[in-house]
Amino acid sequence: MDPQQQSAIQGAKVLMVGAGGIGCELLKTLALSGFHDIHIIDMDTIEVSNLNRQFLFRRSHVGQSKAKVARDAVLRFRPHINIRSYHANVKNPEFDVDFFKQFDVVLNGLDNLDARRHVNRLCLAADVPLVESGTTGFLGQVTVHVKGKTECYECQTKPTPKTYPVCTITSTPTKFVHCIVWAKDLLFAKLFGDKNQDNDLNVRAKKEASSSKETEDVFERAEDEDIEQYGRKIYDHVFGYNIEAALSNEETWKNRTRPRPIYSKEVLPESLTQKNGSTQNCSATDVDDSTVSAMPLLGLKNPQELWGLTQNSLVFIEALKLFFAKRKKEIGHLTFDKDDQLAVEFVTAAANIRAESFGIPLHSLFEAKGIAGNIVHAVATTNAIVAGLIVIEAIKVLKKDEDKYRMTYCLEHPSRKMLLMPVEPFEPNPSCYVCSKTPLVLEINTQKSKLRDLVDKIVKAKLGMNLPLIMHGASLLYEVGDDLDDIMVANYNANLEKFLSELPSPVINGSTLTVEDLQQELSCKINVKHREEFDEEKEPEGMVLSGWTQSPPTKGESASTSKNESDVDVTESSSGPEIASKKRRLSETEPKNHKRETENVEGEDDDYLMEIEDDDLTEIENPMTVSKKKKRVA
């Protein structure tokens, strides 16, 4: 190794964000490559399903901090280097710009968009280079972001979390994922979660004022009510009565297949108790929550097996019984967790029964778990390769070898003979609201939208701000922080409920708002344009943010899109139109990654969208289009 390289490595102070799949490999490769001073942040603890690739962890470590265990493991083969671990969220205020400034380079091995954006902003504010990475299955990518030299992580718009219109979930599911969202976010939440949360589970049967009180009571279980009877009552209500109620709304079914109501007596014997008196006979003491399971009691072993309607119905009742019999204390504050076996069983069964009702193909528990938990498809090899690529880029950054910076793509099928494809990085996008100061444009109905809508749908969801502050001229409309007094908090809360045009400093057509995040040291201007109407289907949020566009396309790009089709080796299961799309996530070619919905929605309550957790989102750009847009860094 050349001496210049060696001294660059030995003198470097490196921050790693994430000690998961990529993180474990990265920490090992950094240590082997001679890095002496490594800090690592990760808020997660170790789980069994990590062990197949996060090789620094053992079964005995399950439940412990990833950052700490990774540190200890690497110190065993490189005892004399300095590794500092933080079991914390990178978005915590202690990791501020000054914290970031102490590092020579930041290396990301993250699994979610939100944290990636946050780190990108802090790196820009602290002027520290960032090497970013992501993997899905055999696909991976590593990119370099150096302020003023290459594009920042947000120079190109990133896909926002997948959302589905509420109406699709509550009344007109057409895909299995809709049934999963219903089972997880509505039914599971209603039965086992916080009772005070708003919930759209009940179909509003045409203005029948009478039923609202009754239906609420269905979900309440009387102290002495037999659990199985209660379970059957829920079953009949959500799969029978609710479907009938929805069917009565003729308008909805004009162009759709009508669902079939399902009642428990049609699929299950009169009483299940004699057949398997499990719950009553088992002693309810000394059970570990995470191991309670309905499957063994029903003789079901293989999670990849497809259950029929009867089996799903049995699992539904049995899982519900087990929650009440063995996990009663948790009821009222449970949230769905993909590692909670009983919750996965219940959600799988409920989603399948609903799917049956709507004529949607059923899925195995294994598949349902993947969809419900948004599980990343991950293998050790890709993570190891990507970690190696990160270290190579990090060394170039430390040596300030600007001409040699590359974005590298790992491909599953070789393209122009390449399995690892380096591409020159892009220049910063001059209209990026994050790394340049270009104002954004917001079209909104200023008389009908509240400040709260702006904060939730734009400032938090779209701009990814953590601790926002909103100003109109010199007037402060909203801020978040620990140091606010009660009067200010009350003021801001009152503002949240006001329409934009009725704020103390009215926000109307032509107004310019300044939105800041003090932690991220990001500030941007939003020019407000009043608009009366929004298309419910295409603009369901009732407002449109624009102004930060993708990098201007270079000559010939649009012409090349159709040619791409023959260039790209067709990955397993990908389909034509997706390949032709200009810029996309490669992961979308996998059928299990449900795509964003664009389907038509009818009905009256589509005015807001339901969000799906997207913890494991990994964006991978299409290397073919990227390579065609190749631009030299000035």
Partner: protein, 322 residues
């Protein structure tokens, strides 16, 4: 599907990767037996990857004793002299690998790989030779080819920040999904001997220079009786002499193999850990593909060079001449 189902424990541990390659591929993996010889950085990475992936067994061969140099890119060896004193590299690595995944049987086989009989290789589904000599690679490949069952054969070599993988799957059938259709494909691989004897002249000029450079180094080490990586800048004149002869014999100009590349390969005797991770990762991916029968395999050489960042596949067979 053949064989028993995966156990509950296996399904839980391998959950994420089953979502990538499916349960059938995982079943085939858990029944595969892999022989690995020559354990330095890249091979250590490879071993880690296949043990994590959950192959049936891994048999390690490397009787060399642990030295300072072997610690370099090999994270399977703890740097504690008391722990590794008197033990072979294979023995130490075996202990570390067992720990990664208790469901994989990891063992050590002593002795010289090239002295093994043809029957010895029958126990394995995959044979990987790391940093082998030209003679060993040829001999073991021929033995594998004599067996009635197909043994997938791989060699891997890393020098400086460059790596080479060679693959021989003989006559290999696999399924490829094209859109929704499953297509049966067949590939015919040349043996190592055949692949390295392909005349240079008809090989396309855009072919990775590393292919030619590695052949020169191979011949140099063979002629001089050197072990892998036993060379320095002092050997450059001899290496260039060999290059000249090979280029003449193949009727190509000497610019075919850049001197600077040869110099890098003989002086960069210490492995570059990021390159090890990359080449070891690609090799493991290929072995997983071959064992599971899923996906298009690499045919028949792979080159990585950290200097240009490219990882390329080269098909070197007699198809150029025909």
């Amino acid at each position: 599907m053949d064989g028993e189902e995966l156990t509950e424990q296996e399904t839980a541990l391998y959950d994420r990767q089953i979502r990538v390659w499916g349960a059938n591929a995982q079943r085939r993996l858990t029944k595969s037996h892999i022989l690995v010889s020559g354990i330095k950085g890249t091979v250590a990475e490879f071993c880690k990857n296949i043990v994590l992936a959950g192959v049936g067994s891994v048999t390690l061969m490397d009787d060399s004793l642990v030295t300072e140099e072997s610690l370099n890119a090999n994270f399977l060896i703890p740097p504690d002299e008391n722990a590794y004193k008197g033990k072979t590299v294979a023995e130490i690595c075996c202990d570390s690998l067992k720990d990664f995944n208790p469901m994989v049987l990891v063992s050590v086989e002593k002795g010289d790989l090239s002295a093994r009989s043809t029957e010895f290789f029958e126990k394995f589904d995959v044979v990987v030779i790391g940093y082998g000599s030209l003679a060993t690679k040829k001999a073991v490949n021929e033995k594998c080819r004599k067996l009635s069952k197909r043994v997938a054969f791989y060699t891997v070599d890393c020098r400086d920040s460059c790596g080479e993988i060679f693959v021989d799957l003989q006559d290999y059938k696999y399924t490829k999904k094209k859109l929704e259709e499953k297509v049966e494909c067949e590939l015919n691989f040349p043996s190592f001997q055949e692949a390295v004897s392909v005349p240079w002249k008809p090989i396309p000029r855009r072919t990775a220079k590393l292919y030619f450079a590695m052949r020169v180094i191979e011949v140099f080490e063979e002629n001089e009786g050197r072990k892998h990586g036993e060379c320095s800048l002092l050997d450059l004149p001899t290496v260039l002499e060999i290059k000249k002869k090979l280029c003449e014999a193949n009727s190509v100009s000497e610019s075919h193999v850049p001197d600077s590349l040869l110099e890098r390969l003989i002086t960069g005797t210490i492995e570059f850990p990021p390159a090890c991770a990359i080449v070891g990762g690609i090799l493991a991916q290929e072995v997983i593909k071959a064992v599971s029968g899923k996906g298009e395999p690499l045919k028949n050489f792979f080159y990585y060079d950290a200097q240009d960042g490219k990882g390329v596949m080269e098909d070197i067979s007699n198809s150029f001449t025909s």
